[in-house]
């Protein structure tokens, strides 16, 4: 009647560590995962369809709600796609501020990742430490645009407003604080024996396999593939910045952890360069009153904290809303790797691996 060898365990959508509403149906042999079925869609709000019925400016606000822990990056990605479609020139100052915001957002998003990832593996204190620093970034964003989570902080062709006076000084001060705090996280985790045993050799994936699965961002770089949109197809002001793309060697959870830790440092490096070299000038380019891109289609990708975030937009040239709006969300594509990663590991590793992919369900389901 029943298969006595396997236990089907339904993990989620209500579970403490599936990062929202992910559901994973595990088939277990003892505690060993034989197979995993990843079920998504519990947070589907139809954002892509919604965007096709809003005008081009209103869409910025909707992109906030996809990866809600990295709203500014989503805004930048969308605005740049439309700018590409309309061949708009963005002033240098606006591109610099975008770069600062994107990197601040990367740190905020990675703070959330390190907190939840460590908590999944049982180290609770890191979570509160990381949120303490994330709070500082949210304060900076609040000062810049008034919001703390869904920023709506970009406009097509530039920025809604210039940075407040003294803001750049505060950003530099934050960089100083943050670089010492990264050491603090590392002290708690990097050489911790338990942390090493829990992450080394867990969820190993080779570079070619990661490419085949369509992984991007830290999960891909952890496997040794030096793919970073910021370097390969620079956007905003990344072509003027000096930074390195950290890559891992063995492609396990520990390497993905190290890659993200190094990304903290590189992000700080970029923020320092951009803030110190912030040029004067206008913050919005020459944008027509009515935004109505010419007929055509375009794909533009940026490096969000989770990976390659791409927008594919089709405009019919007649209406004030996109004809087709499609997002390539990094979380969705990275989550595809989960089934491959968890096979043969234990239940305890499943939560570690979900955390190591750093998915946001708002972006997976849209």
């Amino acid at each position: 009647m029943f298969d006595t060898n396997e236990l089907v365990l339904n993990m989620g959508p209500q579970h403490p560590s599936t990062h929202g509403v992910l559901r994973v149906v595990l088939r277990l042999d003892g505690e060993k995962v034989v197979d995993a079925d990843v079920v998504i869609g519990y947070l589907h709000r139809g954002i892509e369809k919604l965007c096709e019925n809003r005008n081009w400016t209103q869409i910025i606000l909707l992109t906030d709600r996809m990866d809600y822990v990295a709203a500014a990056t989503n805004n930048v990605g969308y605005c740049e796609t439309v700018e590409k479609l309309m061949s708009l020139e963005v002033p240098r100052r606006a591109r610099y501020v975008r770069t600062i915001l994107c990197e601040l957002q990367r740190i905020a998003s990675h703070c959330l990742w390190i907190g939840t990832h460590a908590m999944d593996i049982g180290a609770m204190t890191v979570f509160l430490y990381a949120f303490r620093e994330r709070e500082l970034i949210l304060d900076l964003f609040e000062e810049f645009c008034g919001a703390r989570l869904t920023y709506n902080s970009m406009r097509i062709g530039g920025l809604p407003l210039d940075i407040p006076p003294g803001w750049d000084g505060k950003v530099l001060e934050f960089c100083k604080i943050m670089s010492s705090k990264i050491e603090e996280y590392e002290e708690l985790l990097t050489h911790n024996r338990i942390w090493l045993e829990r992450t080394k050799g867990i969820g190993v994936i080779s570079g070619s396999e990661a490419v085949a699965l369509g992984l991007s961002g830290p999960p891909l770089r952890g496997s040794g593939v030096p793919r970073d949109v910021r370097k390969d197809e620079p956007y905003a002001a990344y072509d003027e910045m000096e930074f390195e793309v950290p890559i891992g060697a063995s492609g396990d959870t520990y390497d993905r952890y190290l890659v993200r830790i190094e990304e903290f440092r590189q992000a700080l490096r970029i923020i320092r360069q951009a803030t110190e070299g912030l040029p004067e000038g206008p913050i919005v380019g020459k944008v027509p009153r009515l935004i109505k891109p010419p007929a055509g289609e375009t794909y533009h990708a940026i490096e969000s904290p989770k990976g390659e975030l791409g927008y594919f937009i089709v405009s019919d040239g007649k209406s004030t809303n996109p004809y087709r709006f499609r997002v390539r969300p990094p979380s969705f594509c990275n989550l595809q790797g989960l089934r491959r990663l968890v096979k043969g590991h234990l239940v305890a590793d499943v939560v570690a691996l979900i955390g190591s992919l750093d998915v946001v369900l708002g972006e997976v389901d849209r």
Binding site: P16, M119, I121, G122, M124, L128, L346, V347
Partner: protein, 350 residues
């Protein structure tokens, strides 16, 4: 011949003994409450937050509020659960936790400032094989966990209780061997005798605690003690991030509170036994023998702080890694430690 006079003379001692028993029971309940507050405050300190501060002065009444909340919760039982075992499991856990403390001495003999004619030992029951009794009863508490997981008829609970049984097998041997090396040194199974063997000092400075001759044994005991009490980093049976709440997923209200109580009382017991075995019990400088319980409390608090500190600092092991650790590291170390101790006692008469 039975003498009424003899019985009459026994009465004050008898009353004192009963009062003491009730007192210990009451204080154990309190210790769980204090531990909840202590743990929350220490965790808050480690994590740079405030911890409970709204209920009562400095949040001191928080444990009371917790208990009242739990009492007013509805008692739920899954329909598919085994009613008898489901009700029995928390009782076994809590009863075992209370029973284990019965043989733990926590102070020297006292006459309560001359109230009693014969001195009374600060201990509920003076058993001459106390160490064995504690060991036996502590193993019983695992039955509570295993039965809870099995009778809940829930997958998470089942996995939790399976982990508990796997865990028990892997740490209990080394736990027992760590105790054995102390027993060899003390040449007795009675905790009171073991404590009294640790009175005095070496070279006028170092207390004659077994900690200093058995540092390895102490570490093994502490590590195994964490596993025994299901605390992080060995809290697999209730690993929140993996198994929701492990074996007590389906429990609510007071039956959940019983598991909670058992966990904290077990911690107190393990720390108290560690104090008796390795830290010289109630012996310490500056205080007279009759106030030795103050030393005892301080030492127990120090060990409890260590447990709390570990929980909020370290990530969690995986349960198969604990088994590797238990069998491949802890057990050989404990065996070597025991053999070395035995050789030392035999040839050097330590």
């Amino acid at each position: 011949m039975f003498s009424w006079l003899h019985l009459y003379r026994m009465i004050p001692l008898l009353i004192a003994q009963i009062v003491l028993t009730l007192f210990v029971f009451f204080m154990l309940l309190n210790s769980a409450a204090v531990m909840v507050y202590f743990e929350r405050k220490v965790a808050a300190m480690l994590q740079q937050r405030l911890g409970p501060y709204l209920v009562g002065p400095r949040g001191l009444l928080q444990p009371v509020a917790d208990v009242i909340k739990l009492m007013f919760k509805e008692e739920l039982r899954p329909r598919a659960a085994d009613p008898l075992l489901f009700a029995l499991a928390p009782i076994i856990s809590a009863a075992a936790a209370f029973a284990a403390f019965a043989v733990v001495p926590f102070g020297a003999e006292t006459t309560f400032f001359g109230l009693l004619s014969d001195p009374l030992r600060l201990q509920v029951a003076d058993v001459n094989v106390a160490v064995l009794v504690i060991f036996a009863i502590a193993s019983m508490s695992v039955y509570g966990i295993v039965l809870a997981g099995w009778s809940s008829n829930s997958k998470y609970s089942l996995l939790g209780s399976l982990r508990a049984s796997a865990q028990m097998i892997s740490y209990e041997l080394s736990y027992g061997l760590a105790l054995a090396s102390v027993l060899v040194m003390a040449n007795s199974l009675s905790l009171t005798d073991i404590v009294n063997r640790q009175a005095g000092v070496w070279f006028h400075v170092i207390p004659r605690w077994f900690l200093f001759v058995q540092p390895l044994g102490f570490l093994i005991y502490l590590t195994a003690g964490i596993a025994e009490t299901n605390r992080a980093p060995f809290d697999f049976p209730e690993a929140e991030q993996e198994l929701v709440a492990g074996y007590h997923t389906e429990y609510s209200s007071m039956s959940f509170a019983m598991f909670f109580l058992a966990e904290y009382i077990n911690m107190v017991t393990v720390s108290a036994v560690a104090t008796d075995l390795f830290l010289g019990g109630w012996h310490g400088p500056f205080l007279p023998e009759s106030l030795g319980w103050i030393w005892f409390l301080l030492k127990v608090t120090a060990i409890l702080f260590f447990y709390v500190w570990m929980r909020w600092t370290l990530p969690r092991y995986r349960y198969d890694q604990l088994m590797h650790f238990g069998w491949r590291v802890l057990l050989p170390l404990a065996v070597v430690n025991l053999l070395a101790t035995a050789a030392g006692v035999l040839y050097f008469d330590l």
